[in-house]
């Protein structure tokens, strides 16, 4: 019986607070359906590692070592699944959408400045800024490569805000656009993209990004490998496995593994709140950047662009595209923006990886 009492007596308020945080994550995952695939394992993991003398902590720590710390295996493998899920056709039919993906990375660089201003070390500031990539695997990859001491807070912020895209983005979009702009209709030509183009696309992207940002080549390479499996047409079974089984399997491990960084000592810090705030700023500036670029482009193009599609460049795929499409329908029930916003959304996916790679290239050395 003494053993039981001893264990109970080692429990402290910080651990209980982490149980509460874990409970909130589980609640958000189940009741609000906010990124449940990740928030639920993270929430449960947070409780698991904060039990007094938790025997699970060592196992989860081991998962972290092999799955994330050594060569960022989990996020990279997850990228194969994501690549297999993405259809780049809307982007290939209208390549100028690429620019919106770039503009929606403003948040990353703005947040880098803000985090530096708040006194974070450069590796931490850059890792926090990557929350603006709105891309979980990229955030994990960069934060881990830069040895950030705030990996868990960054993960929680990244995935929480990705889940909150339908709440965060609409007011910003409405604030930056007029009703008339939101009503702009865009024609979708629906040009056929040849199979050869779809096959060459992932190979070319990998080669270009690999040459410019070699640190990001693992990320873009695995993403494009997944896409090549999808588009080649002879590996349907592998493509389906990557999209469903592989992605689900890694997601289960990824969520609970991130929880290894959610011990009370590591998570309950004032900086965590600051990181959550900076993450929100990153998402807001991303949205603003994308919308503003569209408005600027409208000054020069004859065929007007609905500025709302710029907001879909934040790579939170496909939530952001859906949000823009829905906002378009709210203003005009015959205005279908989905194909355009999906095109921007997938370009954001590429742009966020490039931005992550550049941050690593500039700062990892």
């Amino acid at each position: 019986m003494d053993v039981l009492y001893e264990n109970l007596l080692t429990l402290n308020w910080a651990q209980v607070a982490m149980w509460a945080i874990g409970g909130v994550l589980i609640y958000l995952a189940i009741a609000k359906e906010m990124e449940p695939t990740l928030l639920l394992p993270m929430g449960f993991g947070a409780i698991l590692v904060n039990l007094p003398n938790s025997g699970a902590a060592a196992v989860i720590e081991h998962l972290f070592e092999i799955g994330i710390n050594q060569h960022e295996l989990f996020p990279l493998i997850l990228f194969i699944g994501i690549g297999a899920m993405i259809d780049f056709e809307p982007l290939l039919t209208n390549p100028k959408l690429m620019f919106f993906g770039a503009a929606a990375q403003f948040g990353i660089f703005f947040t880098l400045c803000m985090a530096s201003f708040f006194g974070f070390e450069i590796n931490d500031a850059a890792s926090i800024a990557i929350i603006g990539a709105a891309d979980g695997p990229t955030s994990i990859f960069v934060a881990n490569m830069l040895n950030s001491s705030y990996t868990a807070a960054i993960m929680v912020a990244a995935y929480s805000y990705m889940a909150l895209v339908p709440i965060v983005q609409p007011p910003i979009i409405k604030l930056c656009t007029t009703k008339a702009e939101r009503k702009i209709r865009m024609n979708y030509t629906g040009k056929k993209v040849s199979k050869r183009t779809k096959i060459l696309f992932p190979i070319i992207i990998t080669a270009i990004v690999g040459m410019v940002a070699p640190d990001a080549v693992a990320l873009i390479g695995f993403l494009m490998f997944g896409n090549l499996i999808r588009e080649c047409g002879v590996l349907n079974s592998l493509s389906e496995t990557a999209q469903k089984v592989l992605a689900n399997l890694i997601t289960i491990f990824l969520g609970i593994t991130i929880a290894s960084r959610m011990t009370a000592a590591e998570f309950l810090r004032l900086e965590t709140l600051l990181i959550m705030g900076l993450g929100l700023v990153a998402f807001i500036v991303d949205t603003f950047g994308g919308v503003m670029l569209a408005k600027i482009m409208n000054l020069f193009f004859k065929n007007k662009i609905n500025p709302m599609i710029g907001a879909a460049g934040i790579s939170a795929f496909p939530m952001s595209a859906r949000v823009v499409h829905k906002l378009g329908l709210e203003e005009d029930n015959q205005n279908f923006l989905l194909m355009h916003s999906i095109g921007v959304n997938v370009s954001g996916q590429i742009a966020s990886v490039i931005a992550g790679g550049l941050i690593l290239a500039f700062l990892a050395k």
């Binding site: 982007l91 290939l92 390549p95 100028k96 690429m98 620019f99 993906g101 770039a102 503009a103 990375q105 403003f106 990353i108 660089f109 703005f110 880098l112 400045c113 985090a115 530096s116 201003f117 070390e121 450069i122 590796n123 500031a125 030509t189 629906g190 040009k191 056929k192 993209v193 040849s194 050869r196 183009t197 060459l200 696309f201 070319i204 992207i205 270009i208 990004v209 410019v212 940002a213 065929n303 370009s347 590429i350 742009a351 490039i354 931005a355 550049l358 941050i359 500039f362 700062l363």
Partner: protein
């Protein structure tokens, strides 16, 4: 970790966003170029195949209906996707009152005028 000032962060940010823009611009240009090259190559191949397909050996006896519900043969699609072609064939069949298994389509081609219009 070496000292990193707010000025350094600003400089990194400006260079970073500019580089992302330039890389994506390069990718966009490459997509356009590669798509055009592939389209030209495929159109050329399709035309040469069409010439071969016009030889008497390939011609099937006209007017012989396939059994009900069965269709055979290939339609040459130029600047048209399969979905659009299927819709066109269904429309022709519906409007003419001739069942699809009695109709023979050689090719469905997007007219040049429409093509230019679509590219704008």
């Amino acid at each position: 970790m070496e000292e990193f000032t707010i000025v350094d962060a600003l400089l990194t940010s400006v260079i970073g966003i500019a580089t992302v823009m330039v890389i994506l611009a390069i990718i966009a240009v490459l997509i356009i170029v590669v798509s055009k090259v592939i389209r030209a190559f495929e159109n050329k191949t399709a035309k040469s195949e069409a010439v071969i397909g016009d030889t008497p050996a390939e011609v099937k006896p006209a007017g012989v209906p396939m059994p009900e519900g069965m269709n055979e043969g290939e339609v040459e699609l130029i600047g048209t996707d399969e979905k659009t072609a299927a819709v066109i064939m269904a429309l022709v069949s519906h409007n003419s009152g001739i069942p699809l298994n009695r109709l023979s389509f050689k090719s469905i081609k997007l007219l040049d005028d429409e093509k230019k219009g679509a590219d704008k």
